[in-house]
């Protein structure tokens, strides 16, 4: 059956292996996650999502770079520059709050996208995989928090 394209090519899992969120998953577990992903291509300068958008998905970079910008006082201020293997928009998995910043492709990008609804169903159907991803996500958010604290200390807010 080639109509919709088969997903069972083992080499196709390779891009997912380099994503930090899935680094602790086994090949079999990765295959389950692979079945849930959407793949998108963005050109340099293209907006992935806007600040204030209703977040429905988490994005992971397979190729290219993405910058995270926040509008402060009318002009965009760069918060982060993300490289292949990194994820963004992760808060959408946890709540339905509006996006806190804008994501824009800095170079031509290949991204994989996971929807919150899929992640929620993963929690029911494959709790082990979901817990591994949730743990990686918690570590990732912890790292972000530490970075933010360090930044605030440098600026004398703490």
């Amino acid at each position: 059956m080639r109509f919709f394209g088969r997903d069972d090519d083992h080499a196709a899992l390779q891009p997912l292996r380099q994503i930090k969120l899935f680094s602790s998953l086994t090949a079999r577990e990765l295959k389950v996650v692979y079945g849930l992903r959407h793949e998108r291509h963005y050109l340099a300068g293209e907006i992935v999502f806007d600040q204030g958008d209703e977040g429905q998905a988490i994005y992971a970079i397979v190729e290219g770079e993405v910058e995270i910008l926040r509008a402060e006082g009318g002009s965009p201020h760069r918060l982060a520059l993300l490289a292949p293997g990194e994820v963004f928009g992760e808060l959408a998995l946890l709540d339905q709050a509006p996006r806190a910043a804008q994501a824009r492709a800095l170079s031509d990008c290949r991204l994989v996208v996971f929807f919150r609804a899929d992640f929620m169903s993963l929690l029911e159907t494959h709790p082990k995989i979901a817990s591994k991803i949730a743990l990686a996500l918690a570590r990732h958010l912890g790292g972000r928090l530490r970075q933010a604290n360090a930044g605030a200390r440098q600026e004398g807010h703490l």
Partner: protein
């Protein structure tokens, strides 16, 4: 970078939703050979979806889970059919006779009831209501047997192969549904991607909630009717309960037909006691009320989140536009069109998304024309 979240669909969008549903029903009326197997395929898909999910939960792949579930279900059907075939072959003639007997029983009850009313009412006696109704039914029966029945039987025979599509559709929905969703999502531009995919999930959620609600409602209805009919003392209460519950899938007409079946059986099983038939009618009305006010809001009502006025209005529109098939199709179709219409109107009315799409198109044009001077 903006931040104004668009509000829900306005009155214009709602008019569009109702019009699109009516138009779709009109078109579907001419494609019933495909639409009805598709609908039954969907019902089978949502019926088999929970066991497939359980197998996925147990560690099977989606494909293996679909193969096992559909295989087991097909095996069960084949075994049931094999067990039923000898009984059916032996009772084929008596089944036909029983049908005629029940029909005659129902007509006798109707005639006796009308005569009893004539005895009470001078107006009805003067109008010869019982005779008029009896002769009208006899004429309609003869006309139906001579003119409509052969065409109906031919139509059923012609439709039968297309119904074989239903199990195949259910199998492929179960196996490739997610892959098909991704295939559709690939066609959506980046700017609209997140919103549109959310829409696809919502359509899936709405249809799943509707059909799983319908299956639960059928089980509840069948159980209540079977218990009631068993208490009244009617023969084959479970079979009758199931038939009437399935007939209730067609709003209004199905319920009336189901009630008529139950009354005919009651009148034939207890020819001298019209009280039993009246008790069956009472039970039917009670279960309908229970259905409308308790079961329906708990099952289907919750899934569609529609105003009752819109629901009733659209049922009438469905019946007027596409007959019985329209009555059957209108609610699930309205549910899907409603989700699509609401989201599409929000997406189309969002100037920021349109601007982002235009920006992406400009970038794409620049990238492919960079070396053309």
């Amino acid at each position: 970078m903006r931040r104004l979240q668009p509000s829900g669909a306005g009155p214009l969008a709602w008019c569009g939703i109702l019009l699109a549903t009516t138009l779709a029903l009109f078109l579907f009326q001419h494609l019933l050979w495909l639409v009805l197997p598709f609908l039954f395929g969907l019902i089978a898909y949502y019926f088999l979806y929970p066991p497939v999910q359980r197998l996925v939960f147990a560690g099977f792949s989606q494909e293996a889970a679909a193969n096992i579930t559909v295989g087991a279900f097909a095996l069960l059907l084949i075994v049931c059919f094999a067990l039923m075939l000898p009984w059916f072959a032996a009772h084929a003639v008596s089944v036909q006779d029983t049908g005629q007997r029940y029909l005659q029983g129902g007509l006798t009850l109707l005639n006796e009831t009308l005569r009893a009313l004539e005895a009470q009412s001078r107006f009805m006696r003067d109008a010869h209501v019982a005779d008029a109704v009896s002769s009208g039914i006899a004429r309609a029966g003869e006309g139906f047997a001579q003119e409509r029945l052969p065409a109906l039987m031919l139509g059923v025979a012609a439709w039968l192969p297309s119904f074989l599509l239903a199990p195949f559709l259910a199998y492929f929905f179960l196996r490739d549904g997610r892959r098909f969703q991704r295939f559709l999502a690939r066609a959506v531009p980046n700017a609209y991607f997140e919103r549109t995919l959310h829409l696809l999930y919502e359509v899936d959620r709405t249809t799943r909630a509707y059909f799983q609600g319908l299956i639960k409602l059928t089980v509840l209805d069948a159980a209540c009717l079977a218990i009631g009919l068993w208490l009244i003392g009617l023969s084959s209460p479970l079979m009758l309960g199931l038939i009437t519950a399935v007939l209730a899938w067609v709003p209004y007409v199905g319920s009336i037909l189901g009630c008529a079946v139950v009354v005919m059986v009651a009148a034939t099983d207890f020819p001298g006691s019209p009280g039993v038939a009246y008790a069956a009618v009472g039970l039917f009305v009670f279960v309908r009320l229970l259905d409308d006010f308790v079961f329906m809001p708990l099952t289907i009502g919750r899934s569609l989140k529609m105003h009752p006025l819109v629901t009733v209005l659209m049922i009438f529109v469905g019946g007027a536009v596409a007959g019985v098939a329209g009555l059957l199709l209108v609610l699930p179709l309205l549910g899907v069109v409603m989700v699509i219409g609401e989201t599409a109107s929000i997406v189309a009315a969002d100037p920021r998304l349109r601007a982002r799409h235009a920006h992406a198109r400009r970038l794409r044009l620049q990238s492919v024309t960079r070396d053309l001077g």
